[in-house]
Symmetry: C2
Subunit: 189 residues, 2 copies
């Protein structure tokens, strides 16, 4: 488990072993059963979760009462409700495990302290956050312009082993297409 | 001009005067005439722009040939095409001045060097990027769910002096409503 964290941390910035130890000492382990929530709309999110394995989704309920999936999160990703975590306000979305998921958890206050003692960690999160911003802008500006067929094939290409792990109606929600149309696309692929 | 930068920089993180001097020495000044572009779709963006005064917009042309405005940027904001700036790939959007705009410019390479010599600057950009991410998620998840009337009144509330400075069809594009409907809303407000 520690090896996975070390490999992950050193992907963008090179940490010393003692820095890895210090960061690791602030992480706590948890198994999240399938369908359990790590955050529910309305709660204040005080933690970031690093996914060791498994699968989570972020979603909110829109004004018509429909679930809107905004993100799937897989192994080696950090997940949180950023607005709630940063501003300590009630979360506007929920985060739920779609499989039994193992996570490492860091408290907001521990993370803030680590930023001060290990500035390289701040670099890592600056880079991760920039990449998240790019991903979300790309999804907004390009992805949602693509024909829905192309969005589906793009998703298969980006995350080939992912489609099988998620209920089809959730894939459809994420792609903003109907489950019926998704079913048609799957037949032709 | 330097005072404005100093006030801005010290908003989230406290810098020493010598750190301010070092950062400031890497900024170059430019006046961008109204309607001029600081970035065109297809160019690789190598700079971040700090807006001293004026107004810029980011937009792309969608598959139907329509302009889609993704962001307006005002005084004391940083603007760039994040994906192009980080990955050094051709920009998918353009950035254009809507008024005569004064900017301070930093090169990517100078910024990367400053992150190393002044880790607090990395903190500032980590925080700014988190706030941008929150804003864009909020726009996605909540804002675009609001009724278009509420989006308009929310915009007036957030940026009361902004509406008068921008052509109405651009406001409509940003709010994803028709110019005719915007005109109706303006009559009732």
């Amino acid at each position: 488990m520690k090896e996975q964290v070390k490999t992950y941390l050193n992907r963008y910035v090179l940490f010393s072993d003692s820095e890895i130890d210090e960061i690791y000492s602030k992480l706590s382990y948890k198994t999240v059963p399938k369908k359990d929530f790590i955050l529910r709309e309305g709660q204040v999110c005080k933690k970031k979760y690093f996914i060791l394995n498994g699968l989570l989704r972020s979603f909110y309920i829109d004004s018509k009462g429909n679930e809107k999936i905004t993100q799937f999160a897989l192994e080696n990703w950090w997940v949180t409700d950023m607005e709630s975590f940063i501003n300590q306000t009630p979360a506007l979305s929920s985060i739920q495990a779609l499989e039994k998921t193992e996570v490492l958890i860091i408290d907001k206050i521990d993370l803030e302290n680590l930023y001060v003692s290990i500035p390289k960690l701040e670099r890592l999160f600056r880079i991760i956050t920039e990449n998240m911003l790019i991903a979300i802008q790309r999804r907004n500006n390009v992805y949602l312009q693509m024909k829905s067929k192309d969005r589906y094939f793009d998703l298969i290409k980006q995350l080939p082993n992912f489609i099988q792990r998620v209920p089809q109606y959730m894939i459809a929600s994420y792609l903003e297409i109907t489950p019926e149309y998704l079913s048609e696309l799957r037949k032709t692929s």
